[in-house]
Symmetry: C2
Subunit: 161 residues, 2 copies
Amino acid sequence: MSDGSVANPVVISPEALLAHWQGHRRLTRRVIQAFPEDRLFTYSIGGMRSFGELAMEMISMALPFLRGAVTGEWESSMSREPRGRDEVLRLWDESTEQIDALWEKLPIERFQKTITAFGQFEGTTYDLLLYIIDNEIHHRGQGYVYLRSLGIEPPPFYERH
Amino acid sequence: MSDGSVANPVVISPEALLAHWQGHRRLTRRVIQAFPEDRLFTYSIGGMRSFGELAMEMISMALPFLRGAVTGEWESSMSREPRGRDEVLRLWDESTEQIDALWEKLPIERFQKTITAFGQFEGTTYDLLLYIIDNEIHHRGQGYVYLRSLGIEPPPFYERH
């Protein structure tokens, strides 16, 4: 790690932001796995969406956002319909790999650039990306409550490896 | 906003990170406010902590972390005992003001520096700070479920002003 002696100190590097994001994604994957197959798309509290629906929302946002930020092409037609847990995990892992591969194609200059994500959300790239990460953390927190209320212990919040 | 033509492009500036954090803090404040006074420290699901306890944890982490990162002095003795909602909000607002004031005393070089927060959590400053923000988002998501299950509509996730 660099320290105070570097010439151009930064809050966070692109590589570190990717590592941070993928760490969260590993944790969310564990939460998907922790749901019993028959509860993933059926269980909810207070009229909220099931964790399966939330996971499909995350999948429909993460890679499509990064792809759009890199290429300028926005794809939001992905189906969010219920499916088996293994299929959700397969889509998740596919996204994870593609995010890793695409990340290096996002030049650092892009982070401060204003874009219109999915043709409707205008903001700076870094801010929109943080929104997507935060949205995942937010809904995953919701998933923790679902799991606890099902009597299932969720994975530790601090474990990201 | 800067664009691709700047000499030293960054993912996020210190000022933008503070704005991001305080935006989340404004939303969390609204969630505290949304709880009925008599439910804040008594209501929970699945054996989890009440939202009041979670809010006190957030208060005990946010400003004390920043103060420690700036001064090297770590204070973690703050009481997390139940108290009135107005008192929680007062502590919240006090922290908000002090975070704003202290932020400019955190030199950008510090973000990449490895520190030991509260005498026990070793990590780079940026990573520990992101952990604190993420922990707030995580537990606030939990608060959203509590509110929904109480029949109360939580504030919109995207409103940070």
